[in-house]
């Protein structure tokens, strides 16, 4: 299968701080990728690198087979954080902008979407609600008929209803066009339904990435009498562990069945899985200080 996004040792430094370091990724085409992590983890940096807004400090990033930010600009759509639009320009002006600046522009997609959303073409973008503005930005992103659509926290500022509507429209576009999507969020719940591929980014590093289904099938929470993590079979990788004086509870990743009868084995929800990886990063320093991941249902 084709690779839509590939990173090799990718890093980005602002001043003396690494916003993203040693990021190696391989995202197959045709996926809806959820990029989750707490605020400030480097999600925007990674996405900006992918659309060519930023250039890497180290390593390389390839998008649709070419170095990011080169001639594939027409094939990559981008919906930036807070979905910026030109306040003084009307909805119609924005569509015209899209038509003028994109050779692959599909006017029928654009007009159909605007019509269905019930947006007034003469309305100034500055007067639209947050949800409508996000929908306008999404329309611009979709109508250029990209192969890859990158969205940076598209629903973070939206109320639950607008959030749902936005994701519905996005998924519909994915179903209609052959479109790969990378979507960042600090909410696991946004990602849970709509994505089939997950990247967890914490403290500027990729903690885990892969098909959500595979991730869910290979991660377990096991609990039982207290024992040392080191005594586990080598095929079982401990993601997080907590111990009381009698009991051990571990989150492990393994491809093989867990045979030890001493363990009570249970499945993880996606959110628990993400939280397990988040807790892991800060474990060496302070166990009680976890990155904040908002949970919203």
């Amino acid at each position: 299968m084709n690779t839509v996004l590939q990173a090799q040792g990718l890093g980005k430094k602002y001043g003396r701080r690494w916003a993203l370091s040693d990021c190696t990724l391989d995202v197959p085409a045709g996926r809806v990728v959820g990029l989750v992590g707490p605020n400030g983890a480097g999600k925007s940096t990674l996405l900006h690198l992918a659309v060519g807004m930023l250039t890497p400090t180290s390593g390389s990033i390839t998008v649709l087979g070419e170095a990011a930010g080169t001639s594939q600009r027409a094939k990559v759509g981008f919906v930036a954080q807070d979905t910026p639009t030109y306040n003084r320009m009307s909805v119609a002006d924005h569509l015209r902008l899209g038509a003028r600046l994109n050779p692959g522009w599909d006017e029928s997609i654009a007009t159909k979407r605007i019509e269905r959303l019930g947006l007034d073409l003469k309305q100034r973008a500055g007067r639209l609600s947050g949800g409508q503005r996000a929908q306008l930005a999404l329309t611009l992103g979709i109508s250029k008929r990209p192969e890859l659509l990158v969205l940076d926290e598209p629903v973070a500022a939206l109320d639950p209803l607008a959030r749902r509507e936005f994701l519905q429209d996005l998924m519909e576009a994915v179903a209609e066009q052959e479109l790969s999507v990378v979507l960042s969020s600090h909410l696991v719940s946004d990602v849970e339904r709509s994505c089939d591929f997950l990247i967890v980014l914490v403290d500027s590093r990729v903690q885990v990435s892969g098909e959500i289904e595979t991730l869910l099938a290979t991660h377990y929470r096991i609990s039982g009498p207290r024992r040392d993590e080191k005594s586990l079979p080598s095929a079982q990788h401990v993601i997080s562990a907590s111990h009381t004086d009698r009991q051990s509870t571990l989150v492990i990743r393994t491809e093989q069945p867990i045979l030890d009868p001493a363990w009570t084995v249970s499945r993880l929800s996606l959110e628990d899985l993400v939280l397990a990886y988040m807790g892991r990063t800060s474990a060496p320093e302070q166990n009680n200080h976890r990155p904040v991941l908002e949970v919203q249902r």
Partner: protein
Amino acid sequence: MIEFHLDERSGVSPYQQIVQQVRNALRLGMLRIGDRLPTVKEVVAQLAINPNTVLKAYRELEHEGLVSAKQGVGTFVTQTLADTSLAAHGPLRQDLQRWLTKARRAGLDDESIEALFLATFRTAAQEDIA
């Protein structure tokens, strides 16, 4: 036509929920042979879920021989579950009731019964997978 809904707290993956809901609808007679399932686009637009999830659920249903996809037209119900399983419901329920009485006599309260049932159910399910 049926409408799907997702319960995010159930712990069951969205694709399995869709499969289960189709099966339930077949079992209860809400879907009959020849009925069309909602298109992938319709489901996606309604639930805001990944199209691959729906496709996967439909593929599984197709694999089980319950539905069949006609290119460009839709996915149609080809078999129903109503008759066979409904008939089996009665005896199974009786067995369960007997087992429940046994458990109560052994001194288990409601919570313990539920825990025991779920644990056994899950272990059995896992053994099936393994």
